[in-house]
Symmetry: C2
Subunit: 251 residues, 2 copies
DNA sequence: GCCAGATTAAATGTCAGACAATAAAATGTA
DNA sequence: TACATTTTATTGTCTGACATTTAATCTGGC
């Protein structure tokens, strides 16, 4: 592990990269202890604060964890699916909010991915996952449910569908799509949507998943996507109309 | 933005979280300059090195960028799809290598996701993307091609297919799947694979994409997945046999 | 008045050394 | 042996300083 002190790049960034590469290459294995900060500072010929900045960078990516006290130190972290989920959701949320992704593009991606899971889920879903879907549908039908709660229930429903595929890698990949996009979509469409319509489609999905009817699940997801896009367009249109009424000249 | 000095959590982690939350909530917008390190230290009532550790954490997630000199400082970074790609690939690679994900699970996820893109790609691929696929197929047929080069070409081919869907969000989501899993698969199967077989399936895909025949693309991907899994199983089996011959007692 | 070069100022990057807090290990004692 | 105490290694944090970079400002000559 070496760095170039003459480079214009931050020393802490270089050190972080060197250690990260060593982890990816397998030179440092899970739960292995890194040298102490003092030893690393010595090795790279930098000061301890610089080493610490590098270690914090790695900690932010969940690549290492640190422990205080004697026989403490920095350890290579086993990257867990849950940690990766969280990062994916954060990243996806920011990507969508910062890059002016159109509703249609986000919606298309989200449903394309979900439809990739659906046939597997129809085949393999556990009774538990099916029960979760049923329970969320029931919750969604209760009067007095806030929009936030309805949205959260919606996410749980779709997560259960995705997890039904029984493939952790798929669930991880979908986490960003479902958890980041669903709230976005709900935020846009909740004023106009009909809960009955959504619940009816959710029920169609759950029924088909129960009977392991992959084709019907797919068809229901297609309908849900079409309905969601229709809603979004009507919202955008009515907003434009309101704006036009208010300021007819600048519209 | 506030922190709790009595918490057992690192101050730098708390500060990073406070700023990150502000960015996600939209209180800090893209390209906005954060207060200087000295001002942040003052605000949170901590020292400058502590603030710096927090900022490095955010920089590691591409949430901020820093600039030296007068009127420099830390700025909220527009998270670009390319940055997110890179992080996704790194994370996916580590997840696979650290979590003993079985070949079948990874393979299933990868092809399920790719098949989600394929119909869209058949519809929308540009002439340019089709040309890329053809060019890579041609390269794959050249004698003397190293295994590394063949693998890289394979990735480029599938990336072109995915990008053909013309949906940046889908491309981003798929980056992890294709770029992280393809090399893994090649590493496992390259000893046993038949390049002719793969090239023939690639050609089938390209032909179907050219004629916008989504069903045939899908069928070819299914065949490619089946072939890949077959290869992996034969490799695992022959390895087990070799191991059994070498040390019949510990096997 | 205007432009080129020198100067200044503000900010991050780095260093050195110190002390605090923590937790495991070593040690002493009943 | 079991328990309490001390030691020690390590990370967490602070202070203050200097180095480096870069934009803005000033200054002198035309």
């Amino acid at each position: 592990m070496k760095i170039d002190p003459d480079s214009t790049v931050d020393l802490s960034a270089q050190i972080a990269k060197a250690i990260r590469d060593a982890i990816i290459a397998g030179d440092l294995i899970v739960d292995q202890r890194l040298p102490s900060e003092a030893e690393l500072a010595d090795h790279f010929d930098v000061s301890r604060p610089t080493v610490r900045e590098a270690l914090k960078r790695l900690a932010a990516q969940s690549l290492i964890r640190t422990q205080r006290g004697a026989s403490g130190g920095a350890f290579v972290n086993r990257l867990r699916f849950e940690d990766a989920y969280a990062q994916q959701v954060t990243t996806s949320t920011l990507l969508l909010s910062m890059n002016a992704v159109s509703f249609d593009v986000a919606c298309e991606a989200r449903y394309a991915l979900e439809r990739a899971c659906a046939p597997l889920s129809a085949q393999r879903r556990t009774p538990d996952q099916l029960a979760t879907m049923r329970a969320e549908i029931h919750r969604q039908g209760q009067p007095g449910l806030t929009d936030e709660a309805f949205c959260a229930s919606d996410v749980t429903f779709h997560r259960a569908l995705v997890d039904g595929a029984g493939n952790k890698v798929l669930s991880y990949q979908l986490a960003g799509a479902v958890e980041a996009m669903q709230p976005l979509m709900n935020m846009i469409t909740f004023t106009a949507r009909s809960r009955e319509e959504i619940i009816s489609l959710h029920t169609e999905i759950a029924d088909a998943v129960e009977t392991q009817d992959a084709l019907t699940v797919d068809a229901a997801l297609v309908k849900l996507e079409a309905y969601t896009r229709l809603l979004a367009h009507s919202v955008v249109k009515s907003r434009a109309n309101r704006a036009a009424e208010k300021e007819p000249k600048t519209a």
